[in-house]
Every structure is written in structure tokens, then in C-alpha cells.
């Protein structure tokens, strides 16, 4: 059974006067160990989909199975537990607690798991080492650069050893060079066996994922290798994006060689 099975998912917001079908009929399944990009323009429904996949929201129709468990009709508390145990979130705006140090931020999800203070600390340090930020663990988010903040956020997502890493525009608030570092970190995590779902509107990011799902108006209109989906998306969006995709390919090539992209 696939890790994520979205079975004809629909999400309808009732605004009183009108109903908005943010998601119409999403039918996707994602296996353990995959790296999937979900691409789409703003308003396409990809954020709604991410919220549902992340168990922050429930669909109004269809079934969602995560690790073989139907989570589309769980109670709020059960959803909280699923978020804690199965999912690691990475947000565009990092979403770190400003008053807490990097270490405390990474420890945070472990509190909701009843892990002892000592063990929390050990796990958090290990996670920060994984993103190569162990030397900054006493710093507060304001004392860290954007890229470092996102690494802390990734460490926080990794520390619970989730079944799924869910990243929403993880490079959206970063400059291109720092963004590239984060992308490489994701590719690296993927190569170690983590399942990652990236939500992005950037074709160049999607192009580097083995698989991409393109969403338009709440419907899946393309599902296939990242490069093809990104290119199809690019055709729809205009030629300048093609250039971006090609640039991304060049960056990917240099990544494969292990050299540092300029």
C-alpha cells in the first residue's frame, strides 16, 4: 500500500453565498521514498491540498489514507497525533518560535510525544547535526540567516523521524543561492530514503524532482517525471520559464557532479 493515497479528494469551502471548490477530484498516490513536487499557480488549490495531506484540514469528499490509515474522518485530537507522529512540516516562512533557540525549536514537536527532556535534547542535537547547524543551536532565529532558519525548520521536521516531509514553498523566502542549498538538502534527504512532498510554483524546483504533479483549478492535469511536467507547465506559462527549467537542469547536472553551483 502506498504511503499517501488520495482517493478522489474534494474540498469545498462554503462561503455562505457561494461555494468554492478548491479541490475537485484529486486522485494521487505517493509511495514511501518518493520525492514529489506539487506545482500549480496560486489559487490552483495546491495549498489546500497540502493542508489536507498534512492533516491540518480534512477533505469534504473522498478518502485519504496515510500509512494505510484513513485520516479523512479523524477527530481533531487524532489529527494532531497524526501530524506529530507521521508528518514533518517545512514552511515558506520557516515558522520558528522567535523567543526560542534553534535547539528549543527543534525540540518542540518532541514535547507532544512525551519524550524526556534529556532524550529530546539528544534527538534535537542529532537533527541539527543532520542539517549541519549543530554549532548554531544556541542561537535564536533572529540571529540566523534565512537559509539557516530554514535548516532549523528542516531539522525540526526531521527530529520526529516522520513518514513524510511536507514542504510548502521551502525556497520561496530565500535568495537563489541559499535556495539552492536548501534544494540540495532536500535531494540529499531524499537519497537517504525520506519521503518528501514539495509544494511549489517554481518550475525549476519541480524540474529537479523525480516526479511532479501539476494542479490547475483543483484538478490534477499532469503527473509524471518532474522535468516533463515542469516543461508542460512552462509551455502553458510562457517561454521565459523554459529558460528557467534549462538553468535548473544545468544546476542539477553540477549537483550530480558534486561541484558547487555558481
Amino acid at each position: 500500500m502506498a504511503l499517501i493515497e488520495l482517493d478522489h479528494i474534494g474540498k469545498c469551502y462554503d462561503l455562505g453565498l457561494s461555494k468554492v471548490h478548491a479541490l475537485k477530484d484529486i486522485h494521487v498516490s505517493i509511495e514511501t521514498g518518493e520525492l514529489v513536487a506539487i506545482v500549480g499557480q496560486s489559487g490552483s488549490g495546491k495549498s489546500t491540498l497540502m493542508n489536507i495531506v498534512g492533516c491540518l484540514d480534512v477533505p469534504t469528499s473522498g478518502r485519504y489514507h496515510l500509512s494505510g490509515r484513513d485520516v479523512s474522518e479523524l477527530s481533531d485530537d487524532e489529527l494532531s497525533d497524526v501530524r506529530n507522529l507521521e508528518i514533518g512540516f517545512i514552511f515558506q516562512s520557516f515558522q520558528l518560535l522567535p523567543r526560542a533557540s534553534a535547539l528549543e525549536n527543534v525540540e518542540l514537536p518532541l514535547i507532544y510525544r512525551g519524550i524526556s527532556k534529556k532524550e529530546r535534547r539528544e534527538l534535537a542535537i542529532a537533527a541539527l547535526e543532520q542539517v549541519e547547524l549543530a554549532d548554531r543551536m544556541k542561537h535564536r532565529p533572529t540571529e540566523l540567516s534565512g537559509g539557516q532558519r530554514q535548516r532549523v525548520a528542516i531539522a525540526r521536521a526531521l527530529v520526529t523521524q516522520p513518514s513524510l516531509l511536507l514542504a510548502d514553498e521551502p525556497t520561496g523566502n530565500l535568495d537563489s543561492r541559499t535556495g539552492e542549498e536548501i534544494v540540495r538538502l532536500f535531494l540529499d534527504l531524499h537519497s537517504k530514503g525520506n519521503t518528501i512532498v514539495l509544494v511549489t510554483h517554481e518550475p525549476k524546483l519541480a524540474a529537479r524532482c523525480p516526479r511532479a504533479v501539476r494542479i490547475v483549478d483543483g484538478l490534477v492535469i499532469a503527473d509524471g517525471p518532474g522535468r516533463e511536467v515542469a516543461l508542460a507547465n512552462a509551455e502553458a506559462m510562457g517561454a521565459d520559464v523554459v529558460a528557467q527549467v534549462l538553468a535548473a537542469e544545468a544546476a542539477a547536472a553540477s549537483h550530480r557532479k558534486g561541484a558547487f553551483a555558481p
Binding site: L56, S67, L85, Y112, R113, G114, A126, G146, Q161
Partner: protein, 450 residues
């Protein structure tokens, strides 16, 4: 603006995977993860510990805001403590004074104790209790152990150049010593013979002995009581101490007949009748029967005198105390409400400020209950600190009051626990709504909050 401090993760990753991947990860992975009961149990503790730390940090970060709310709570708690302290002080001193009246003593008097208002008009036309009543009781009442008529007034007492004002002058008989619960220190008490012959003998209280005879023997010395009367001291009394902020020892006891001669024969008396323990009711019935007969009251006429017991004073006192209590409770409720609204306010601000944090925590797996606990902890900590400061202030006020005023004031442990516990409950009650509003925020909206 890249991050030079953080090297690219690529170079070392393929060869040396971090140990977590190979070791720690596997056991936690698997289908349908669930927390064990023990982990759930520990989670609550971890959440509370985290909530306390967060709350303290938040309060320290907003010192002024927290201090204002805390001072609101503490002033409220202090006010309530002071009210109840004064109340219990009054009660204690009253109980002590009441004890000095003796539980088995009946007081025959024109007035009924603990009666006011409309009844006053009914009672004012009664004849005063006089010597006739005393004689009737002496002759016909068999049950009393002792019967002592007392007339009293206030006067200036002087000796040579020295004078003492506001001295309690009592004219009475030998039985007064027992009825009033006094003890003789030196010399002798007024005898019935003194009363019969109207002698100039008198017995003085400890205050007067101190004032006049600090350096010499009081016995046999002459003092002037009021403007004209001269008396010879034949005995002194053991100190009785204060009752209701007034010394009871500024006192001159003289024979009733001498008193009436000096201060007017028409003065009303109070007749103290000491009953045998356990026979108070029978004695009261007998006293009423004897006095009705002596006053020739028909069967259809009401008593035109009152037989008072200390518990009647208690009744009147209890009525007063009930009013004081009610006022105290009212003040307490109002201050609690004001303090509580302060807590609610600070908490609502805190919830508003930390909306994003709530969203983050919810996304990371905090349940509604976890968020509720977090903000309730903050409310309870504010209230608790306020309560502790309030109890401290209350204790200080008690010490000050005890020092400066005659009302004995002390703070007992029940007040301390009550104050602390009460403020805890206050925090929980007034923190509940903001905490609930935080807990029921939608995680997605909370995350989007600016």
C-alpha cells in the same frame, strides 16, 4: 546573501550518512504510529513543564504588562485578606470580652442586649431595675449562687496632684467579685457590711494602682473619686487585660450604697445573677418569676425587665458580623472580578500575540488540550504570583494593624492557603475563555496570522 557559515550538505553525505538514519529512524517508522499510554502520561507532564517555562518567559518578556496585572490581583487579594483579618480580630476580641462576662451569669437589666431599632421605643419606658428588685431576688430566689447589683458611671479619679480620667466607677456588693470573674490581688474586697453602713472603702483596678501607687503600698491610701467623694483603698485587683481595645483595669469598685449616695440614688442597676453550671435555664425562670411577682405584673402583662445572657449579646454581635461578612464577601467578589478581568485581558493579548505560535504548535502535533493547558498555565501563574504578593502584603498589613490599632490582627495559615488557592482558581476561571479561544483557533488560520 548566502550563508558562508553553513557549508553545502552535498560533499559528505553519500559516504557518511548521519547515524540517525541508520539507527534511530527504523524503530519509529512503521504503519499507524501510536503513542503508548505511558508516553501519553509523560506528554502531559512535558506539556505542563513547557507551558510553565513558556509562561514565565512570556511574563518576563512583558514585564510591565505582567506587573500591572499582578499588582491588580495582589491588591485584590490583600483587600480581602485585610477584611477577613479585621473581622476575625473583632470576633476574637469579642469572644474574649464575652468570656469575661461568664457563661453562667444572668444580667437583669432594663434593656435587652442586642436589641435595637423599633424595640428601643418599647423598652425605654420600662422602669429601671433598682434596689427593690435586688432585695426581692435576694429574699426569694433560691437557685442563684450569687447575686450582685451593679451601678456604674465614669468619673475622674485623683490623688494629690495626679488625676486619671474616664475611670469606670462601680457600686456593688460582695458578690461582684465572683459574678464579674475578678480576682483579688491584695487586701480585701467590698463586704456586705460596707454596703450596709455605706463605708468609704474601695477596691481599685491594676491601671489605677500603677498610676497612683507605683512606688508604694496602695492599701489604706485615700483617693478622690469624682468631684466630691473620698475613698480609702482596701484592696487591689489582678489585671484582666484589654477587651475591645479598652483596658478593663481602670476601675474603682465601691459599696453600692456609697455609690448611690455620691452619684445619685435613681441610677438603674444591673443585677448579675450567677447560676449553677447546668442550671442556667431554671435559674432564669426563677429570676423572671421572682421579679414579676415583685413588680406585681399580671398574667397578661409582658415582662418590663430583661434577663440577659452572654449568648444574647452574641446574637446581636452575630448580626453585626453577618453584615460585616456580607460586605467582606461583596468586596472580595468585586475585587476578584476586577483582578480576573485583568487576567483575562493580559491573556487575550497574549493569545493574540502568539497566534502564529499556536498555529506552529498545532502543526507540530499539539492538541487543543495542549494549547489550553499552555494558556491556563499562564493565567494561573499570573494569578498565583499576584496571590502570593497579595498574601505577603496582607501579612504586612496585619503586622502593621496589630502594632498600631487595638484590634488584634494576625494572619493564619488558612488565610495564606485560601489566598493562594483562591487566586489559582481565579486565574483558571478567568483564563478559561481566552485559553479556549486559543485552543479552538484553526491551525491553518493561526499559521497565516501576521
Amino acid at each position: 546573501m548566502s550563508t558562508p557559515a553553513a557549508p553545502s550538505p552535498t560533499p559528505n553525505s553519500p559516504e557518511t550518512p548521519p547515524p540517525q538514519v541508520s539507527s534511530g529512524k527504523v524503530p519509529l517508522r512503521g504503519k499507524a504510529k501510536k503513542l503508548s499510554l505511558w508516553a501519553r502520561f509523560r506528554r502531559v507532564f512535558a506539556e505542563i513543564a513547557d507551558a510553565v517555562i513558556q509562561a514565565v518567559q512570556s511574563l518576563i518578556a512583558h514585564r510591565l504588562r505582567a506587573a500591572l496585572t499582578i499588582s491588580g490581583v495582589s491588591v485584590g487579594i490583600m483587600a480581602v485578606i485585610i477584611i477577613f483579618m479585621v473581622e476575625s480580630g473583632m470576633e476574637a476580641s469579642f469572644a474574649r470580652q464575652l468570656n469575661s462576662l461568664g457563661p453562667n451569669t444572668l444580667y437583669v437589666h432594663k434593656w435587652a442586649w442586642g436589641v435595637g431599632g423599633r424595640d428601643w421605643w418599647k423598652l425605654r419606658n420600662r422602669p429601671a431595675v433598682g434596689q427593690m428588685d435586688y432585695r426581692a431576688l435576694l429574699a426569694n430566689a433560691k437557685l442563684p449562687i450569687a447575686i450582685s447589683p451593679v451601678a456604674n458611671t465614669e468619673a475622674v479619679v485623683s490623688r494629690a496632684e495626679k488625676e486619671v480620667k474616664n475611670i469606670d466607677i462601680r457600686g456593688t456588693t460582695e458578690a461582684f467579685l465572683e459574678a464579674g470573674g475578678w480576682q483579688l490581688k491584695r487586701g480585701r474586697f467590698i463586704s456586705d457590711l460596707d454596703h450596709e453602713i455605706g463605708s468609704d472603702a474601695c477596691v481599685i483596678g491594676a491601671d489605677l494602682e500603677d498610676a497612683f501607687f507605683k512606688s508604694g503600698d496602695a492599701l489604706g491610701q485615700r483617693i478622690k473619686v469624682g468631684p466630691t467623694t473620698r475613698c480609702t483603698v482596701v484592696g487591689t485587683l489582678v489585671r484582666k487585660g484589654n477587651a475591645f481595645g479598652r483596658s478593663q483595669d481602670g476601675l474603682v469598685v465601691m459599696p453600692l450604697s456609697s455609690f448611690l449616695r455620691s452619684f445619685g440614688p435613681k441610677r438603674g442597676l444591673t443585677i448579675a445573677v450567677v447560676a449553677e453550671a447546668g442550671k442556667v435555664m431554671e435559674t432564669e425562670d426563677e429570676v423572671i418569676a421572682v421579679l414579676r411577682a415583685a413588680r406585681r405584673l399580671g398574667p397578661d402583662q409582658e415582662d418590663n425587665f430583661s434577663v440577659n445572657r452572654q449568648d444574647k449579646i452574641l446574637q446581636g454581635f452575630n448580626q453585626t458580623m453577618m453584615t460585616v461578612n456580607l460586605v467582606g464577601i461583596l468586596v472580595g467578589v468585586i475585587t476578584a472580578a476586577v483582578a480576573g478581568i485583568g487576567i483575562m485581558n493580559i491573556l487575550l493579548v497574549s493569545v493574540k500575540e502568539r497566534t502564529r505560535e499556536i498555529g506552529i504548535r498545532r502543526a507540530l502535533g499539539a492538541r487543543r488540550g495542549s494549547i489550553l493547558i499552555q494558556f491556563l498555565c499562564e493565567a494561573v501563574i499570573v494569578a498565583l504570583v499576584g496571590g502570593a504578593v497579595g498574601v505577603g502584603l496582607g501579612a504586612g498589613a496585619a503586622a502593621l494593624l496589630d502594632l498600631l490599632s487595638p484590634v488584634p490582627a494576625s494572619i493564619d495559615p488558612r488565610v495564606v492557603t485560601g489566598g493562594v488557592l483562591g487566586s489559582c482558581i481565579l486565574g483558571a476561571i478567568f483564563g478559561l475563555w481566552p485559553a479556549l479561544s486559543a485552543a479552538f483557533l484553526h491551525p491553518i488560520e493561526a499559521l497565516r496570522h501576521e
